[in-house]
């Protein structure tokens, strides 16, 4: 594995974040999409009957919380899919590849530039949700929400992990795709496994214990880092610049 220069990685992150801020469609999408995902959990919390006993109350509390985990998967996938192939279409990729920036630094910078705002927005949305519950939900329901510390913890721990998965698979697709539209569709498709798992959790098919959840978290972390390394290996300057398969 090649050496990593923090200056170059930071330069990539800074440039990407500046670029995102200046594109209105990205800003609007990143704000509106999470808010749309907030609707169902808030409605569920506010219609939950306050007289249910604690075990039954869980299903009115845990499921909406887990539903918000989908934000962390869906939001970054489109951005990540655009990162490499989008630059290629713009014509900005080749000048960047002529600099000392290594493949690992490029991938790491691009990943971080998508992951950081995605995770920050997820946490912001969770914070908004909790504030709304605290301020306006029925006392019993609010108590049940804040009492469910394992699920809250899972939200905050799993958000960056599943977002990381969405980012690296989106990047992998972007490195190989020839068109932005194709990359974005494939990127969303590649996030499907994670979405399926979350849906299975929400629907109660999977009942993870604390130990199982911890193992799952470690597993996702390992998968994310492995995938990051695989993407760095997939990154081929010749293919990206010429569109031809690298030959020697």
């Amino acid at each position: 594995m090649m050496g990593l220069d923090a200056t170059r990685v930071r330069a990539v992150i800074r440039k990407e974040l500046t670029d995102y801020r200046r594109k209105r469609s990205i800003v609007v999408t990143m704000i509106v999409m999470p808010l749309l995902f907030l609707v169902e959990p808030i409605v569920a919390i506010f219609v939950a009957p306050p007289t249910e006993p604690p075990p039954a109350m869980d299903k009115f509390v845990v499921l909406p919380l887990l539903y918000m985990l989908l934000i962390a998967v869906i939001m970054p996938s489109t951005l990540a899919a655009y990162t490499v192939v989008g630059e290629r279409e713009q014509g900005t990729l080749e000048p960047t590849l002529t600099t000392p920036l290594s493949e690992q630094e490029f991938i790491l910078g691009k990943s971080a530039a998508v992951l950081i705002p995605s995770v920050a927005l997820c946490y912001a949305v969770y914070g908004v949700f909790l504030l709304a519950v605290e301020a306006s939900a029925k006392r019993a329901v609010a108590a049940a929400v804040f009492h469910d510390r394992p699920t809250l913890l899972a939200l905050f721990v799993f958000a960056p992990l599943v977002a990381g998965w969405a980012v690296v698979v989106g990047l992998a697709v972007s490195v190989r795709a020839t068109e932005v539209r194709v990359a974005q569709q494939l990127g969303t498709l590649a996030s499907l496994p994670m979405i399926v798992v979350i849906i299975l959790l929400i629907s109660g098919v999977i009942h993870p214990t604390f130990v199982a959840a911890a193992e799952y978290a470690v597993g996702i972390l390992v998968a994310d880092l492995l995938m990051l390394r695989i993407v760095a290996r997939m990154f081929n300057r010749e293919r990206l610049v010429t569109g031809a398969k690298a030959t020697r």
């Binding site: 594995m1 200056t7 170059r8 960047t96 002529t98 010749e238």
Partner: protein, 480 residues
């Protein structure tokens, strides 16, 4: 008056099972790349007295150490570097390697003061007297003067490896370089050298392989066969980062981020080159292309010509050993082209090595010290004047007021004339071996014959004539 200090860096092979030469490590003095060092090599760097930082960066090992020191007048300082011998950690891979690299930047290369180096007594006495460095605090924010490579010694001579500007004669050495994409040959067995400070033109028709050659030398594409030394570094995937640190490439389309301003674009690329004190460099680069007043403008609002100039400013940022300019005036109007030409001439005067690809033969003739003409294969390399002499015999053009009565008889009497013909305008084109000898003879003969001479002068073949002479046959073959 200050006297430069000398920094001596010696690299040992170490206890690691490294190759004889090992991978080249970049030597960064105050954040500026001043050269590279391989196994059993010693570098001497000259620097101004003051506070400096030394850092080594490797493309193989994850991390590099940094050492800060004070240098005094006439002092000689020494550092020794080698791969660390903690081999179990070196060979840890995958996840642990990535995690560790994010945490600690000072593990794999040992960089220690050289205790064996005898210290200048002036330094010792200066240290005990606590003499402050000669540069003032106000200078600390300014970029330090680049270190000058004074001397480069190697314990064992190693072919094709050198610190920048030290022992290689040429900025670019290309030998039998070829590139094939499947069945299609982009270029084949190309060989040439480019000297330091030279403006080298690379000409050819569309599809000749010029851009592919630039991309290959710029490490974007791997060659199929052959070899090259780029800024003294062997062209190979392992040396890609090192080479790209020494060169700058301006593609045909500048590829700017349109939502970012001019300064933001340059700041990004300055970061990619690891440049410190980038603001001054950015200002200097923009001043060189007369765009200082447009620094805050978004690149999306600039014209093509202005974007091209921003692209040029970007290549100036890293102070490269070689600049590759791929059609720098493509799509520019004459005024904008002239500005770019003047900039290139200015760079040539400063000794920058420029590799220029262009379709415009007048541009190549104006700017280039030497040109190469290629069409998949290299047709010729040389100075434009030499190429003209090689391909075309010298001739004199004679215009007379009236048509000569018997030019055949007249010209046959003059021994200096090898051959003659009449061109489309009615002028007589006389092939001669030496115009200086032939011209007076011809003039005398014409006057003696009663002819009224309007003009007699040497006919100049342009680079376009050379180009067409070499390329025209290929075009005919392709059309047929």
């Amino acid at each position: 008056m200050t006297h430069p200090a000398t920094l001596r860096i010696a690299r040992r092979r170490g206890k690691m099972n490294t190759s004889r030469r090992g991978r080249a490590w970049s030597v960064l003095l105050d954040g500026i790349n001043v050269g590279s060092i391989v196994n059993e090599q010693t570098l001497d760097l000259s620097m101004e007295p003051g506070r400096h930082t030394l850092r080594l960066r490797s493309t193989r090992y994850l991390l590099s150490p940094e050492q800060s020191f004070d240098a005094f007048d006439d002092q000689t300082l020494g550092y020794v570097c080698e791969p660390r011998s903690l081999s179990p950690i070196i060979f840890t891979r995958w996840l642990v390697w990535l995690l560790i690299s994010m945490v600690n930047h000072n593990l794999w290369i040992s960089l220690q003061p050289d205790d064996n180096l005898s210290v200048d007594p002036t330094y010792e006495s200066a240290r005990t007297r606590s003499i402050t460095p000669s540069h003032s605090r106000a200078d600390e924010t300014a970029p330090p003067a680049a270190a000058v490579l004074v001397h480069d010694t190697r314990a064992a001579p190693v072919a094709h490896v050198a610190a920048a500007g030290s022992t290689t004669e040429f900025a670019l050495e290309v030998k039998d370089l070829s590139k094939r994409f499947g069945e299609r040959t982009a270029f084949s067995e190309v060989s040439f050298n480019v000297g330091y400070g030279e403006v080298f033109g690379f000409l050819g028709p569309n599809g000749a392989g010029k851009t592919t050659t630039v991309r290959t030398l710029g490490t974007l594409i791997a060659p199929t066969s052959g070899s090259a030394l780029v800024a003294g570094i062997p062209l190979s995937p392992e040396n890609g980062v090192e080479i790209r640190q020494r060169i700058a490439i301006m593609p045909e389309s500048p590829g700017l981020y349109l939502r970012l301003s001019v300064a933001e674009n340059l700041k990004y690329f300055a970061g990619l080159y690891g440049l410190h004190h980038a603001e001054k460099r950015i200002d200097d680069a923009l001043a060189a292309v007369n765009l200082l007043d447009r620094a805050s403008d978004l690149c999306g609002g600039l014209s093509k010509g202005l974007r091209q100039r921003v692209g040029l400013a970007r290549t100036l940022l890293s102070d490269p050993a070689i600049m590759f300019l791929d059609e720098p005036t493509a799509g520019l109007d004459p005024v904008a082209s002239l500005e770019v030409h003047n900039l290139i001439i200015g760079l040539r005067q400063k000794g920058v090595t420029i590799f220029l690809t262009t379709h415009r033969l007048d541009e190549a003739e104006k700017l280039c010290d030497r040109v190469a003409i290629m069409n998949t294969k290299l047709r010729t390399v040389g100075r434009p004047s030499e190429l003209r002499d090689q391909l075309f015999s010298r001739s004199l053009v004679v215009r007379t007021l009236a048509t000569l009565r018997d030019p055949k008889e007249l010209f046959s009497r003059i021994p200096a004339i090898d051959d003659w013909r009449v061109d489309d305008s009615g002028a007589y084109v006389l092939t001669v071996s030496d115009p200086k000898v032939a011209a007076p003879e011809i003039a005398r003969a014409l006057v003696g014959d009663g002819a009224d001479i309007l003009f007699i002068g040497e006919s100049q073949h342009s680079l376009e004539d050379v180009y067409l002479e070499l390329i025209a046959d290929d075009v005919q073959v392709r059309r047929s």
